[in-house]
């Protein structure tokens, strides 16, 4: 299978010296539904900006279907459709004009562009507004207009930068359905978000970015099972061999330290009673935290916000 996107060693230092990307590698397969998840300021938009030629990279390479943006920029661009994070259409032009011109920039004839504009405006429930100026639209409509605009040249890869930020839950749902449908038709979708739940609902593969570093790059299932468990560290009175605990995996790190993996569904009481039964005394305990888990506390936090909004 082809790779829709290959990024390697991508680095970005902004004017003024701030390093937004510290050398990231990413691969997205053709047909994938891929999430780039990370908190605000992690470097998601910077990454998308470099892929779509809106930001100059400092080092590294980007290939779109094998076409390097340094050597075959126009080829690479023609595969991509971008829905940026901020509204960036002309507020004074009508929806139809915006769409038809955008298609023109990709070499789509006007007559064909009008047909496509009609198709996507209808699909995205904007057809009634086709002769209104962009500034007349509500926030959710503006977002949908940008999705329609990104599809006008029927790209192979659709990139959406936080498409559902600030969008109400009903619209978010319908956008999810629409994106799934596009993905089924074979369009590779890359989406950035800071809602874990959104990535979970939509995506097959996921990379997590934090402070310009990819901290995890895996499929959704493995990530979720990883997330479903935590590790608890027990300080114990000296023992020599690791105890056998029913239904728990444990490791003796040194003679005073025992680590036990606990699934969210399991009870810590069970560990205590089993340790008691084997005469192992616990002096203290703590959660073993790592960067990924810490990150998730914040991401799951924002995911819960999504759920609250839906009530």
């Amino acid at each position: 299978m082809n790779n829709a996107l290959e990024i390697s060693g991508l680095k970005k230092v902004y004017k003024g010296g701030f390093t937004a990307l510290k050398g990231i590698d990413l691969t997205v397969k053709q047909g994938d539904f891929f999430a780039l998840l990370g908190p605000n300021g992690a470097g998601k938009s910077t990454t998308i900006g470099i892929i779509t030629s809106l930001v100059n990279k400092t080092a590294g390479s980007v290939k779109v279907f094998g076409h390097d943006i340094d050597k075959e920029l126009e080829q690479a661009k023609s595969y991509l459709g971008l829905v940026p994070q901020e509204f960036n259409f002309n507020q004074f032009e009508t929806l139809l004009t915006i769409l038809v011109n955008q298609a023109g920039y990709y070499g789509v004839e006007r007559s064909l562009a009008f047909k496509r504009a009609e198709k996507y405006l209808k699909k995205l429930d904007l057809w009634d507004k086709r002769n209104d100026a962009g500034r007349m639209l509500s926030g959710g409509m503006k977002r949908r207009l940008m999705i329609a605009r990104a599809l006008m040249h029927e790209p192979q890869v659709l990139i959406l930068d936080e498409p559902t930020a600030g969008v109400d839950i009903e619209l978010r749902r319908s956008m999810w359905i629409f994106l799934r449908e596009l993905n089924k038709q074979g369009i590779t979708i890359i989406l950035t978000t800071h809602y874990l739940e959104e990535a979970e609902m939509l995506c097959r593969n996921i990379a997590i970015i934090d402070s310009g570093v990819i901290v995890e790059d895996t499929d959704m299932k493995s990530l979720l099972s990883k997330l479903d468990q935590e590790t608890i560290v027990f300080d114990i009175d000296s023992i020599t061999t690791a105890p056998q605990l029913d239904e728990f995996t444990c490791r003796l790190i040194d003679d005073h330290t025992l680590e036990v993996d606990v699934k969210k569904s399991q009870l810590i009481n069970d560990i205590f009673s089993q340790l008691n039964g084997q005469n192992i005394n616990v002096r203290s305990m703590r959660n073993k935290s790592n960067r990924l888990e810490e990150l998730f506390v914040s991401l799951v936090g924002s995911g819960q916000k999504v759920k609250q909004e839906s009530k």
């Binding site: 900006g49 661009k77 960036n88 259409f89 038809v100 023109g104 920039y105 990709y106 789509v108």
Partner: protein, 257 residues
């Protein structure tokens, strides 16, 4: 990109640009018509009749070409300057930057848009002039060549201005402090042969003198400078400004962070 795609992209930019100034015609097309009428009333009817002849023609006939050229210059420049800056400001310039549009197509599209406005305004102003004065034509080809090259020169200038501009103020500074003085001192209202030698020499450093005189030659058959020199100056400006504009856009100055 195939040349066909490039052509479609170019047409789209041109369409968008022309559509923009037509949509706001009250701001773009009406003021030049009013301005030139005022010039005719003041310089033509009131003062011009006392000035007598200039360069062998009555004063009104003498200034018409310069007045037309003045409006072409201002409008070509400000069309591209405001349109491109506003595309940066609203960020819709990104629509072009993400698409496989070669940079020369972007430059050609905006310059073409500026030329379209410059020449349309030139035509309107010419038609208004006909209400006040008979216009004779000495050489139509010189007129067409001068007006297109001048318009292209200032459209490129407006584009470069917009690339560097960080605020709306930045696109009015150059027209106010450089363009307007150069135009007024560019031989629109007088023949530079009337000036003392020193100021004649200085005037030869003003590119607008060449444009106005070549243009006037097209109508009246008289010029303070040689046509060959005038067209060489225009060509040199276009090549230089085009190269600068292309370099800036390719580097992404003011466009890509």
């Amino acid at each position: 990109m195939s040349s066909k795609s490039n052509f479609i992209a170019l047409k789209s930019i041109l369409y968008k640009e022309i559509n923009r100034f037509m949509r706001i015609w009250v701001q773009t097309l009406v003021p030049p018509a009013i301005t030139i009428s005022l010039y005719f009333v003041i310089f033509g009817e009131l003062i011009g009749s006392r000035i007598g002849q200039m360069g062998g023609f009555d004063y009104m006939s003498f200034i018409v070409p310069g007045l037309i050229m003045m409006s072409v210059i201002t409008n070509s420049y400000s069309n591209v300057a405001s349109s491109f800056f506003s595309a940066k400001w609203q960020r819709n310039v990104e629509e072009m930057l993400v698409a496989p549009v070669p940079n020369w197509v972007i430059v050609a599209g905006y310059v073409g848009g500026g030329m379209a406005r410059g020449m349309l305004v030139g035509t309107i102003v010419t038609l208004v002039s006909l209400l006040f004065v008979d216009i004779q034509i000495h050489n139509i080809w010189v007129i067409i060549a001068t007006v297109s090259l001048t318009s292209a020169t200032f459209a490129l200038g407006g584009l470069i201005n917009a690339i560097f501009a960080g605020s709306f103020d930045d696109i009015s500074i150059i027209p106010t402090f450089i363009l307007t003085p150069l135009t007024y001192l560019g031989g629109v209202f007088y023949s530079i042969s009337l000036l003392p030698d020193f100021w004649q020499g200085v005037s030869h450093l003003n590119p607008i003198v060449y444009m106005v005189n070549a243009f006037r030659y097209g109508f009246l058959g008289i010029s303070d400078v040689s046509l060959t020199l005038a067209f060489s100056v225009l060509a040199a400006f276009i090549i230089t400004l085009y190269t600068i504009a292309m370099t800036l856009i390719t580097k992404g100055i003011g466009l890509r962070s």
